[in-house]
Symmetry: C2
């Protein structure tokens, strides 16, 4: 109660299964007294490309454009583009970040990757020697909630897709842990497109159920062993 949640949502269709998962999260968390903000990336036509347009005014080095250096410098002087400042404000205020998306090619969709690339800039999310447990977004939690095309069996250690945790490493460790954000167990709905209506309802109910006790959960142990053992 009183907690702030930012849901970064990447699906084009409100009637989709991802849309239902989003709706459930907004309703259930609001009911708990949380304040919920949604960044609906497709609806916002969020820009995924990291370009010079992200810097307002002069460049630090206009001879040779370096996105990392330029956004770092721009962040320090308050010169990032408005859409980035707005997303950073939402992140700053949030106690919990939920990422809701369909897995595309063993990863998040490009529009969501673009949110990571552009919003989590140096100075804001991490800094020189301030990364991983020392990252700048400490005291925040994150949760990756996604749907897959493949079945649970396919994403097992012996399956053709390998352990689903292999896919979580770049997202959870490489991004969230790098910024100091703690990571809750991912929430994975396997192959809803090929499930019966009854099974789909069960999956939606399980998400509601999980959200009811979410604030009592402990973050995962963010070590290589969690992912690859």
């Amino acid at each position: 109660p009183g907690k702030k949640v930012l849901i970064v949502y990447a699906h084009q269709e409100p009637k989709s299964f991802n849309g239902s998962l989003l709706k459930i999260a907004v309703e259930e968390l609001t009911k708990q007294g949380c304040s919920v903000t949604v960044s609906d990336l497709y609806a916002m036509q969020f820009e995924p490309r990291a370009t010079r347009n992200d810097i307002v005014g002069h460049l630090h080095n206009s001879e040779e454009f370096n996105y990392g250096v330029e956004t770092w410098e721009a962040y320090k002087r308050g010169g990032l583009s408005k859409d980035l400042v707005e997303e950073q404000r939402k992140v700053q205020e949030a106690d919990l970040l939920i990422f809701q998306f369909p897995l595309f090619w063993f990863n998040m969709p490009a529009i969501l990757k673009g949110w990571m690339d552009r919003v989590l800039v140096q100075g804001f999310a991490y800094d020189l020697s301030k990364s991983y447990d020392g990252g700048l977004l400490q005291d925040k939690l994150s949760l990756f909630s996604f749907t897959t095309g493949g079945t649970k069996e396919m994403y097992s250690k012996e399956g053709i897709g390998g352990d689903i945790r292999y896919i979580l490493w770049p997202m959870q460790h490489g991004i969230m842990h790098f910024c100091g954000v703690k990571v809750l167990e991912p929430h994975i709905c396997y192959a809803p497109a090929h499930a019966s209506e009854e099974k789909r309802k069960e999956m939606l109910a399980a998400w509601t159920q999980r959200l009811k006790t979410l604030w009592k959960e402990e973050p995962i142990d963010c070590s290589p062993e969690w992912y690859f053992k």
Copy 2:
């Protein structure tokens, strides 16, 4: 000689280290008699967002938009947007795909992920039960060539970033292998931004050197053991 190469390039700045790596590849491969095509994604302002705009004309199901289904149907009736048709043509003609980019958040930049999301659609790159060794883009090779911010030590099994191969799994196995494309050893330039001018020259020379004997290389063994053992 006579081979066709498509280089998909994702850096904003021609004067960057990635720009130099691109230039080397174009020059060296052209010198060998290869026909080289470059998709310079930032220069093309390539669209990374997977939306309804990728389908020309009517939708298969306009009540509930499903990107995977719609692009599959559109591919079959020749109804994909012009930019996708053009990229697919380049892929179709290529013997070798080289992806040249700076690693962003343990992954490719969003603009390149968007190329994967939008170009490699069902029907073109894979199909029902035509994936992995049965994928539709067989007899092609791929090579991921990228720069990192972190050092080689950081991306080792005991390093904070973990084995660099963990990061390669979603790209090489989840995308290329899934489509039936064979994968050559990645080409990784660690932390060029923090290297001496001499070291940078050495790294560029090593890339030229590798390209000289590229066509004699054997693809890697695309098994989980290669990545996680």
